[in-house]
């Protein structure tokens, strides 16, 4: 709001101008006062009547009102009285201007109405300017003070909010630590008896192996075993799923090509399968455990759900936006459109889990990990008509965060 004075361009920028209201029914007087007060520090508004002054004061505030006493209709005193009745202008300084330098002027009445001063016409320019300057300064100071109070209040509010947020963050850390502890203990304590059951059923099978068991008994023992295995997978899957977003692993610089080579070793696809990795796989900064689990799950799924003895899986990546887009494409039976959302949900499988031997957690985990990293994952038909293509984005982490 401060502007350089065009008449004195070499000086420092002027402070924000204050408003001055001049009320006089005689246009020549208005003009005279306004000209005397030309200054970049002042914004002088002239009005021709008490009513006009009141209307102006409805919208604006000013440092001082130069109010003529002798006006037709509503005179200066009446105007002053009405100005004083309004909350917003109750304390605005009023300087009465009057032509009568005589005892007829009821100065007592003027002061009683809240005038702070009188100016007698003919106006001595220096007197006018110095009186206006006093009130302009006062106004500026009060405005500055008001702003500082506002700022201080805002500051306090901000500090309270920061303190609140720190407390919330601490609570979150504590809660996460508790959750991690709970998840670990729960999964650990759940797995122990499962291990026992698995062992015992295995031993029973062994001991009874030589005997002529009914098919029914054999089948039931087998079902027992698979159910135990399933529980173990579920617990592990749940634990891993709950960890995403809660356990903040470190970000490492990963060579996705090298990582994929490792994954291929782990996946151990059957002989007829060809897994092709794109030529220029990017190096990126990511949480190794999660990034690896995403790719590993997708590739393992592609192999597991393939309906043939021979399969081809392609893994590729391109730069996209501020990160990369990875695709895993297979030529298996594909996933019909009506199931494409469902497969990402927890515990969902498309075949009875007995056959599929999966926990149903894999894709839920994949999606959660991708979204936690800030990306999105979609499932479409593979180009070429047969198979599925999983496509996910993985944003690049800005240096400052990693």
């Amino acid at each position: 709001m401060s502007m350089k004075n065009p008449l004195r361009p070499d000086t420092a920028p002027q402070p924000e101008p204050v408003d001055i209201l001049v009320v006089n029914d005689e246009p020549s007087m208005l003009f005279a006062v306004q000209s005397l007060l030309i200054d970049p520090a002042y914004q002088v508004e002239g009005v021709g009547s008490g009513e006009a002054a009141l209307r102006w004061l409805l919208r604006r505030d000013c440092a001082v009102i130069l109010l003529d006493i002798n006006m037709p209709g509503m005179d200066g005193f009446e105007t002053a009285s009405l100005i004083r009745q309004r909350d917003q202008s109750r304390n605005t300084p009023i300087i009465f201007t009057t032509a009568y330098r005589t005892a007829d002027v009821d100065t007592a009445q003027g002061y009683a109405l809240g005038a702070v001063d009188y100016l007698f016409i003919p106006i001595v320019p220096e007197v006018l300017r110095s009186k206006v300057a006093v009130f302009a300064d006062l106004f500026r100071q009060r405005r500055q003070l008001a702003r500082q109070v506002e700022l201080s209040a805002a500051n306090h509010a901000l500090q309270r909010e920061i303190a609140q947020r720190i407390r919330t963050e601490q609570e979150l850390h504590r809660s996460n630590a508790e959750l991690e502890q709970f998840a670990y203990v729960a999964s650990h304590d759940l797995r122990a008896p499962l291990r026992g059951i698995r062992n015992l059923t295995g031993w029973i099978q062994e001991e009874l192996g030589a005997l002529a068991l009914s098919d029914e008994i054999r089948e039931n023992l087998g079902l027992l075993q698979t159910r135990v295995r399933r529980m173990e997978q579920l617990i592990e899957g749940l634990l891993a799923y709950s960890r995403i977003g809660r356990v903040h692993g470190n970000l490492e610089t990963l060579d996705s090509g090298a990582l994929l080579a490792e994954i291929l070793d782990l996946v151990q696809a059957p002989a007829g399968f060809r897994i092709e990795i794109g030529e220029r796989m990017p190096v990126l900064k990511a949480n190794r455990t999660q990034f690896q689990s995403v790719l590993q799950n997708l590739i393992t799924n592609a192999v597991k759900h393939h309906d043939g003895a021979m399969g081809r899986i392609q893994v590729d990546a391109i730069a996209e936006g501020d990160g990369y887009r990875f695709t895993v494409t297979d030529d298996g039976p594909g996933i019909p459109p009506q199931h494409r959302e469902r497969v990402f949900q927890m515990f969902q499988t498309l075949r009875p889990w007995d056959e599929a031997e999966t926990s149903g957690m894999g894709l839920a985990l994949v999606r959660k990990a991708v979204e936690y990293a800030g990306g999105t994952i979609t499932l479409n038909e593979a180009p070429g008509g047969r198979g599925a293509r999983f496509s996910f984005t993985w944003p690049v982490v800005p240096e400052s965060i990693g």
Binding site: H188, R195, N199, L200, G202
Partner: protein, 141 residues
């Protein structure tokens, strides 16, 4: 090696204990094996308290971690403090690789780890096979 190594299995879970015994049986290891249900009982056995005959060297301890009264880590602390027991050879039985990783902070000079939960169920047997060769080859204190 003239003397036969005695196994002291410190394990509270009945089925886990059975697993070790069956594995030893499969390997045709005929070493004497004692079973303690927790660290307190194990110490009594080693020291010959409560009217028992103390377990004589050479012996090898297979130690589970989660037990009542005195768990595996507390047991390890106790034997390291006891000069007559501090040289014991201990293999820790852990129920998951995760648990094993968590132990890496503990420098208790364990001779090795055996993961009970091994998906390849022969894992325990292979580990015990390794122990079998270990005591045949290594000088016991």
């Amino acid at each position: 090696m003239e003397k036969t190594v005695t196994f002291l299995l410190v394990e509270d879970d009945v089925v886990d204990a059975k697993q070790v015994q069956r594995a030893l049986h499969k390997l045709k290891l005929l070493n004497p094996i004692h079973i303690a249900r927790d660290g307190v009982e194990a110490l009594e056995m080693l020291r010959g308290e409560q009217g028992r005959e103390p377990i004589r060297s050479p012996y090898l301890i297979l130690l589970d971690l989660n037990m009542p009264r005195m768990n595996g880590l507390e047991f390890l602390e106790a034997i390291r403090k006891d000069s007559s027991l501090s040289q014991s050879i201990v293999f820790v039985l852990t129920s998951s690789k995760e648990e094993r990783d968590r132990l890496s902070a503990y420098h208790h000079n364990v001779a090795g780890y055996i993961v009970k939960d091994d998906v390849a169920r022969e894992g325990l047997i292979q580990a015990l096979d390794m122990i079998d060769h270990y005591w045949r080859v290594v000088e016991f204190p």
